[in-house]
Symmetry: C2
Subunit: 250 residues, 2 copies
DNA sequence: TTCGATTTGTTCGTATGTATT
DNA sequence: TAATACATACGAACAAATCGA
């Protein structure tokens, strides 16, 4: 067979074409988070390629934490209910290096139109209907992170305050389980600044004490942005950890 | 042949054993940065494994940016002379998202013994002979990052001020070319703080303006630490970008 | 410019091992 | 125990890029 598949018009290798098709199926909700996707042999038959090509396609999705393989069981769509996926997206640790599961408390919820700041910070078209959510994260009982979250209402139908307040697990877990929105990648920008008095008060900071200011964009499949955050982090006892994979190189 | 190679006592898969052996050879300086390692077919013959196993072993080292493949040419030990490797380790960007090659200026150099702070921050045994280097990075002509770098003298024989001052390219490029020390991974911890007046002055900051404080540990092969930094970043016009790979998921 | 050798890249197939159900 | 699914290892064939004769 040729190295280029007949219905592959983009001159991409076959395994990448397969990867696309799997990604599209995921984006379309064909297989839900936590569920198993068809077995490699079944996918090979379905796509009419060798099992090795299927494995190669899945390899990259596993590396991107979009799928999870389990020998003897199957290959599953990654969920946000496991601790390791949490710490893939949550980078605040104790200054002693301790990692802790944060306790979450919702402080506010409203719906409105996106404004100029959203356009400047996130490239979000002005006037988009959005929900705003203020969420406080505590570590060891102490308030450490204040998140101001913005999501387009369109992506999250029938979103309401009670859903957020009564949720179990992480916010991304909620997106995934209830709205079928799967966050697979984030981009964060950090700077140091003086938080507003209101924020400093919530975070229990002394006045004039600086804090970490963060802007995050969260992406789903195919690099489509689905959530925007402005956060303040009290770094008196904690810090932001950026650790570029321990995967390879041992 | 068995899945476990005769001289593989650790019950690791064969490709990982091969990966180890390649990594050890790299750490021993058998192949220098910029040089080609033996071809896959040659390695396969040398290690008495199939070429597929060699490819699998190299795959992970390429993913970890330790090796670089080039079709038709060979597989090379990664260097710090290319722009893309620079931005893998340098995370400061303009607030408008612009990436710029920093201009470097050495402000100080001395040798001494490591102190209590090094032990606390980096786990570096107290009393180790170290070199201290103060380096200023400018972006667009403006001072933005001040690095206080600490390296164990043992790893860098005959290290002197002139070598640093007259270098071309990055500091990690210098480590690599002149001392055979190849930085392959870094871990960074960030917090917000008030810089000392001296630092604020160097960075051209207004007094009482907060800055990003960073501690970095740089690792070579096999996760052995080789360099320690304390940095201050002026985030008036720039910010720290943490973008967890765009590789997969497209 | 052409050609051939070399090297990595892609795809296929097969056999066997290991974990799960 | 048997069936299923992923994991490892091998090999073959051809494609595509590179480089020097």
């Amino acid at each position: 067979m040729n190295s280029v598949h007949p219905d592959n018009l983009t001159a991409n290798p076959l395994y990448r074409e397969v990867q696309w098709r799997i990604t599209r199926a995921l984006a379309a909700g064909e297989w839900k988070p936590g569920e198993a996707i068809p077995s490699e042999s079944r996918l090979a038959a379905q796509f009419k390629v060798s099992i090795g090509t299927i494995r190669r396609a899945i390899d990259e999705l596993v590396a991107g934490r979009i799928l999870v393989r389990q020998q003897g069981r199957g290959t599953f769509v990654a969920t946000h209910t496991e601790d390791r996926t949490l710490f893939y997206f949550f980078h605040v640790v104790g200054k002693d290096g301790s990692r802790e599961f944060p306790e979450s408390e919702m402080l506010g919820f409203r719906k409105e139109r996106s404004d100029e700041a959203d356009e400047r910070d996130f490239g979000l078209a002005r006037g988009t209907r959005v929900a705003r959510l203020r969420n406080l994260l505590k570590l060891g009982g102490q308030p450490v992170v204040l998140d101001d979250i913005t999501v387009p209402v369109e992506e999250f139908p029938k979103l309401d305050e009670a859903t957020f307040r009564k949720r179990e697990g992480t916010i991304y877990g909620l997106y995934q389980a209830r709205y079928g929105v799967n966050v697979v990648r984030i981009s964060e920008r950090l700077s140091a600044a003086q938080p507003p008095a209101e924020v400093a008060g919530i975070l229990g900071m002394h006045p004039n004490q600086p804090a970490l200011q963060m802007r995050r964009i969260a992406y789903s499949y195919n690099d489509s942005p689905v959530e925007y955050r402005r956060s303040w982090i009290n770094t008196a006892e904690h810090e932001y950890l950026s650790d570029l994979w321990k995967t390879a190189a041992r």
